[in-house]
Symmetry: C2
């Protein structure tokens, strides 16, 4: 077995903040990262951008919900294709708070009841640091 061919070399190039925000806005799904003693919890959710805020829904009394207001967290989006010979990744880090009905309505987001009615909380991550990098073919 020769696994050598599975290592994709590639080069990295920084993505500037404006393009990172554009890529966040174009993405529908990303991954919330929370520090936990067992190692970071990394869970996919889908999001919308409201300005520079990353807004997603979650269920009360879960790790994500319990972490809101309790520390820093991350949000990561990428597009890597079938291999990492090319692609990009953006990482936003900051704090999170809950947003409520009036705020959502003010930003034209309607908190309708869903099929999965348990995801009643809306969380907004306010990034204080946004970095991105592009993987270019070798």
């Amino acid at each position: 077995m020769d696994l050598t061919a599975r290592w994709f070399p590639g080069h990295l190039a920084e993505i500037d903040r404006d393009e990172c925000l554009e890529l966040l806005g174009r993405s529908e799904v990303g991954r919330v990262g929370l520090g936990e003693p067992a190692g970071p919890l990394v869970l996919p959710v889908n999001h919308v951008m409201v300005g520079e805020g990353i807004v997603f829904r979650t269920v009360p009394r879960t790790a994500i919900a319990d972490h809101v207001g309790a520390g820093r967290l991350s949000y990561q989006v990428d597009e890597l294709g079938s291999c990492m010979s090319s692609g990009w990744s953006v990482l936003a880090r900051g704090t999170a708070d809950f947003v409520d009905g009036p705020w959502l309505e003010e930003h034209d987001i309607e908190p309708e009841p869903w099929t999965d009615v348990r995801r009643t909380l809306f969380v907004r991550i306010t990034p204080t640091q946004i970095t991105g990098r592009r993987v270019l073919p070798a």
Copy 2:
């Protein structure tokens, strides 16, 4: 603007450990998660599985390299398609160590020189916890 349609409802189902390992083995890329004061660092890499070990290459004196042996970390793979109405995500958490030439040869991985010659370190994550979930359409 009605963003309501962008929230994908869906239901979650647990994926058992064996299937999680199978999904890790079928994936070529994933995301390393490291705890940092600014919030978790989440960075894509490509990997190979050696037994239950997740092996990837990295550059010396980077956040990933410095974290090896210094604490717990995560590895996440997913396949979410264009929206989160269906897909899956697997999260492995554990510790990491460096593996060297003899170990790599023993497992038929040839540490050849690459185009990107800086990625000289091979890291192995040994998962102590592997969880996964599938998002099923609502």
